[in-house]
């Protein structure tokens, strides 16, 4: 009886010591997973996920605090790639209607130059000064729509970016499989 206790107790002590040492030795300071998740997110910084930007959302996903299907700009494709990275089944993306890419445009005649939209733009894509007309840089605009609510005169609207020769894509081949049986 005593020997059995000694054997088990001794084993426990030895293993405990080894694990304690490993815990110290292999301590992980920060989570590099965040970077990988952040790289998949579309960086619109729109906050539709409920987090103030893409990085905080990535951190939340890495900690397991947020589901991966909260990013409408990333679309079903983004969810799929996140699921692949994290090795989980992609959740049903039913609440994720994918909007075509759009950019914000300021109506020159209505803008009063209040600078409110400039402050709200997460990527500094709006140029202007107080009492001066503001302009949105089309190339830099991520289409996050964060500038729409602050505008006091509703002079900003979203314009869908049309396909041109540079961005045109070959469509998925439409071919129907012939029924054999």
């Amino acid at each position: 009886m005593l020997s059995a206790l000694l054997v088990l107790g001794g084993l426990g002590l030895v293993l405990g010591a080894v694990l304690g040492w490993a815990e110290v030795k292999f301590r992980v300071a920060d989570d590099p997973l965040v970077e990988k998740i952040d790289a998949i997110l579309p960086q619109t910084q729109c906050g539709q996920c409920g987090f103030p930007g893409c990085k905080p959302y990535a951190e939340a996903i890495a900690k397991g605090e947020a589901p991966i299907n909260k990013c409408p700009p990333g679309g079903a494709d983004g969810v799929k790639r996140l699921a692949e990275l994290l090795g989980v089944d992609p959740p049903a993306a039913d609440d994720m209607e994918h909007k075509p890419r759009a950019v914000a445009v300021i109506d020159e005649n209505t803008c009063i130059g209040c600078t409110l939209c400039i402050q709200s733009c997460p990527v500094d894509a709006i140029v202007g000064a107080s009492k001066q007309l503001h302009v949105i840089l089309e190339k830099q605009c991520t289409g996050c729509e964060l500038c729409l609510p602050p505008c006091p005169v509703d002079c900003i609207h979203m314009v869908v970016v049309k396909e041109d020769l540079a961005t045109w894509k070959w469509r998925y081949p439409v071919h129907t499989l012939r029924r054999v049986a």
Binding site: S3, V7, L8, L11, A22, E23, F26, V28, L33, G87
Partner: protein
Amino acid sequence: MEHYLLILIGTVFVNNIVMSKILGLCPFLGVSKKLETSIGMGAATTFVLTLASGASYLIDVYLLGPDLSYLRTLTFIVVIAGIVGFTEMFIKKTSPVLFRVLGIYLPLITTNCAVLGIPLLNAQAQSNFIESLLFGLGGALGFTLVLVLFAALRERLEAADVPKPFRGVSIAMITAGLMSLAFMGFAGLIR
């Protein structure tokens, strides 16, 4: 020498731990969705299993002896749990993505019946130290081989036109069954 080689080949192909002993099915079906993950899981299991069979041999012979052999299962589980804990920390440090992807299956190596089964089979067969190690290594290599092959098949199945009722786990089970049949062919390898 030939004896040891036979043990290795026999455990990897003929008496494959998954395909003919039907042990370790949980990770076999659980982490075979992606090739990279399965390779990681295979490596982790190989590490744990080889170490565990060596350590359990030593404990069984030198610590327990014939008097305390009723403690075998208990001590083996403790040892395996310790090694798995160590592996877990190591992987978390070296490959966080793999750690995340393996998820619950990593600590569950502890309860992988293959990992407990091989040391127990060793003790039952009264193998010597080298035999135990080789048995552990061979079993783990066999597990890895089958896991990787199966993962590659499943990746391909993702793109296949599988009839709706058979999608997902169902077709995976059918595939596993076919693979098991194929592995029976190895029985003719050693007379």
